[in-house]
């Protein structure tokens, strides 16, 4: 029973990280109807910003940790906005395929450019938050895992508020429902899209820092696999749907953890893709999504 609960906690922590990344994917898709392949690499950049800032901060303090986290979020928000403006905006009216290819190109650029700049060898991520473990009824909870869950929850609640309680959030939802109509009622599409990218990237950065906190070995290619899994999570929950992304991520984190601890651990990656294919075939709208007819 203890093992089961422990795995449950592990799955929760993993799911929380996937959720932070998945949210970015889902928001951008909701507003722009395209999958930002480069998102997983923004996650990586976030981890690296956290690394560089964290090295200069006192280790093991809440203050130092918060500064590193916020620096990463801010840096990546800017990065996301810049990428959108430079590369995706000129192609906004082009066929989706072209934009997809551009996104892939951007993703590769960040990965291999990162290898060039940071070197391909993994680096040790500093312990930026205080490290502690608590034992609760035989289950070990580490401070790092707790921080992941707390920060992820706070950010998701904040996101819900931003999307449903602010003017720009409403504008975002309007654009995701019908961009032309939104423009007609005076919504500035460019601003909304930039905001979406910035927000999504900031969340990915937070995911990156928290991921690096728990698995303190960072390298420029670290975003590829978590990014793909988070993307599956977003689709599982219903792409374009924010609570859906969180739910999908949680489920995926759990499934993955339990498979990992079983005899079939080496099939772990395949499970995520099998889920992806299954969902796309049987319920493309995802668990919580609405099915919108494919525009011709």
């Amino acid at each position: 029973m203890t093992e089961f609960t422990q795995q449950l906690l592990n799955g929760l922590s993993l799911g929380a990280i996937y959720a932070l990344i998945a949210l970015g994917y889902t928001m951008v898709y909701g507003v722009l109807r395209f999958i930002n392949f480069a998102h997983s690499d923004v996650f990586m950049v976030g981890a690296f910003i956290g690394y560089f800032v964290g090295e200069h901060m006192p280790h093991g303090t809440v203050g130092g940790g918060m500064v590193s986290l916020l620096a990463a979020m801010l840096g990546c928000a800017i990065l996301g906005i810049v990428i959108e403006k430079l590369v995706y905006r000129p192609l906004r009216d082009c066929p989706t395929l072209n934009v997809l290819i551009t996104a892939i190109g951007m993703s590769l650029f960040l990965e291999y450019g990162g290898q060039l700049v940071f070197g391909a060898t993994p680096r040790a991520f500093p312990q930026i938050f205080p490290a502690k473990t608590f034992a609760v009824h035989g289950i070990i909870v580490s401070m790092n895992q707790l921080i992941v869950i707390i920060v992820a929850t706070v950010l998701m609640v904040g996101l819900q508020f931003a999307v449903y309680g602010t003017k720009i959030g409403t504008a975002m939802r309007a654009v995701s429902l019908n961009p032309k109509a939104a423009q007609l009622v005076g919504v500035n599409i460019d601003v909304v899209i930039s905001f979406t990218f910035g927000l999504g990237s900031a969340l990915a950065a937070a995911g990156g820092v928290l991921y690096a906190l728990n698995y303190p070995s960072i390298d420029p290619l670290m975003g590829v696999v978590p990014g793909l899994k988070a993307f599956v999570a977003a689709i599982l929950g219903g792409i374009g749907n924010i609570p859906g992304a969180a739910l999908g991520a949680l489920i995926l984190g759990m499934v993955e953890t339990f498979v990992d601890g079983s005899r079939f651990s080496t099939y772990k990656d395949a499970i995520a893709f099998a889920i992806l294919i299954g969902i796309l075939l049987f319920r493309p709208a995802g668990l919580l999504g609405r099915f919108t007819a494919e525009k011709v």
Binding site: A120, P122, D219
Partner: protein, 377 residues
């Protein structure tokens, strides 16, 4: 007549000067393929440093066969598929006399068939999987093989650390890990130990919580992790976070400064087997350590560097004894290597082109690698 004679003499003189100059400049090329970048960059750069030092020292002492040695190095980026391409290039374009490489058994297995097909001798400095030299008669190594290394840690765990119930956490993506795990298990079971649970992971995995939780539930005295340093460090960290305080131990894939950098306090009190230690107090080793430190800004040579050094020295020694760079003379000279004194011990090639060498056990203590004991076969 005289005019023609003079110009003829002048031409002949010029020709002889030119040919003498070109002969003197013609180098003996030795090729090297290593993981200078990528996931196992620590191994590749170490090995390369050792090899380079050996070549430089040999050149300072006059080279080989009266010619200077040129080391042609290519980076395989720790990736699959690159080794065979660059080894082919080294052989066919650069026309190297011999090939040195690689550290990782998987990449050695990739390049060896090419070297064998083109009849170019290859010496692996530190690939320990037995399959490597089985590829053919032109493939050699200067390190021990995993059937031996597996028994070293099995004995150490049972006799010295007094562990009876052990878990194994193996990487399925590396020939090295799978091989070492197999030999450890054989010996440990034969000695009366118990392998309580076996878990697996893939190269590049970051999260081992699931596997470790399962191991914890099974209740063990120690965990054998026959993998590479990146994963070993993360495994140790996550184990400690799950309040699993039992010792972790592994093989020579652990040895890199990153193990301590990433693992921190989690790897304290952990052990691993490897080929040599800079703390061994013999004149040969200490002299090597001093020269290496002088050449590389005070860096202390690790096992990969020492083996890289020895692999180059053995190759040069074989060329000397062969008296030529032609095949199969060099290959035969390599196969006849007997009692070669290197910094990692004495190398005598057996009929499978593997040497019989001793291992050392290292403990991570106070943030440093500490020599514990030497184990002879």
């Amino acid at each position: 007549m005289i005019r023609i004679k003079r110009s003829l003499v002048a031409a002949l003189a010029a020709l002889s000067v030119l040919s003498a100059a070109s002969l003197a400049q013609e180098t003996v090329k030795i090729g090297e393929y290593a993981s200078l970048t990528g996931k196992e960059a620590a191994f590749g750069t170490s090995s390369h440093n050792g090899t380079l030092l050996a070549i430089e020292e040999a050149n300072a002492a006059g080279g080989v066969l009266g010619r200077q040695i040129e080391l042609v190095t290519e980076d395989d980026q720790s990736k699959q598929g690159e080794s065979s391409t660059i080894v082919k290039k080294l052989i066919s374009r650069d026309k190297v006399v011999g090939i040195l490489g690689e550290v990782a058994s998987m990449r050695s297995l990739e390049a060896a068939p090419i070297c064998q097909a083109y009849k170019t001798p290859m010496i692996s400095p530190s690939s320990t999987n037995p399959k490597v030299t089985q590829i053919g008669s032109y493939i050699f190594r200067v390190c021990f093989i995993d059937p031996f290394q597996g028994t070293v840690m099995a004995k150490f765990a049972k006799d010295t650390l007094k562990l009876h119930r052990v878990a194994m956490l193996t990487s399925v993506s590396s020939a090295y890990s799978v091989g070492l795990a197999k030999y450890f298990k054989e010996r440990f079971l034969a000695d009366g130990g118990e392998i309580v649970i076996e878990q697996k992971f893939t190269e590049g995995d970051k999260d081992f919580n699931a596997q470790l939780t399962a191991i914890k539930a099974a209740g063990v005295d120690g965990i054998f992790v026959p993998g590479y340093y990146t994963e070993a460090a993360l495994i140790a960290k996550q184990a400690r976070e799950l309040e699993m305080m039992m010792p972790l131990f592994g093989g020579d894939g652990w040895e890199a400064p990153e193990l301590i950098e990433i693992g921190g306090t989690a790897v304290e009190g952990c052990y691993y087997s490897t080929h040599y230690s800079p703390q061994v107090d013999t004149p040969k080793v200490q002299s090597f350590v001093t020269r290496y430190k002088a050449r590389y800004d005070g860096k202390v040579p690790d096992a990969m560097a020492a083996l890289g050094y020895d692999s180059a020295m053995v190759m040069i020694d074989a060329i000397k004894r062969a008296g030529t760079t032609e095949e199969p003379a060099v290959r035969n000279a390599l196969a006849a290597t007997n009692g070669f004194e290197g910094v990692t011990g004495t190398t005598t090639m057996d009929k499978d082109r593997n040497p019989t060498k001793a291992a050392v056990v290292i403990e991570v203590k106070d943030g440093k690698f500490k020599f514990v004991q030497s184990v002879s076969p």
